[in-house]
């Protein structure tokens, strides 16, 4: 039996992608609301100390693995996809959305979460700003995930 490299890349892309977007949805659909309630009754430390750092670890590395496996899967179609050339435009839009989301994770969400969770020194005022920036970047990624998954889904079957 011959196992093709693109199939391996697609498999890794799916697994890492499920972990990335699954944790993104966990943060947005579950943790934000749970943390608000937990702060009200003083039980938020359980989430911020034990859950969030672990979730963020797998979240940010899964994002990177997803992107790298996706790039490997595109192979020779990498440049045509990112330049939205004929036959590659749909998957290219998905790839661009995924890339923006990856940059959001590593450039905005993670640096600000480090301040919020006390992994990096920050004043109370800086923490307030960091909380808002990380929240909006995370919500932006949730919003972008909807068209991103749509274009990933149709990009592989509809070629134009």
């Amino acid at each position: 039996m011959e196992l093709h490299l693109p199939a391996i890349f697609r498999w890794i892309h799916f697994m890492a992608g499920v972990m990335w977007i699954g944790l993104l949805y966990y943060f947005n659909f579950v943790q934000v609301a749970a943390l608000k309630d937990a702060m009200a009754d003083g039980t938020n430390a359980g989430i911020t100390k034990h859950v969030a750092p672990r979730a963020l670890f797998f979240f940010r590395w899964a994002a990177l693995v997803t992107w790298l496996a996706g790039a490997a899967l595109l192979g020779a179609r990498f440049v045509p996809a990112f330049t939205l050339q004929s036959g590659n435009a749909l998957i290219g839009i998905g790839a661009w959305l995924g890339t923006i989301m990856l940059l959001n994770v590593w450039g905005l969400i993670w640096p600000n979460q480090k301040k919020i969770l006390g992994m990096k020194p920050a004043s109370d005022e800086e923490k307030v700003t960091a909380r808002r920036v990380a929240f909006l970047a995370s919500r932006t990624n949730t919003m972008l995930s909807i068209p991103m998954l749509f274009f990933m889904a149709i990009g592989g079957v509809h070629v134009f």
Binding site: A89, L90, I93, L136, T142, M143, L144, P147, F151
Partner: protein
């Protein structure tokens, strides 16, 4: 004006609208 990303439903609806807009752009301008 309230930021739609402040609410979960606002985020989901914004994502759906963006999907339609990008698909329209793709089928009309990127063929």
């Amino acid at each position: 004006m309230k930021n739609p990303l402040d609410s979960l439903w606002g985020t989901v609806i914004s994502g759906l609208i963006l999907t339609v807009v990008l698909y329209y752009v793709a089928i009309n301008f990127l063929k």
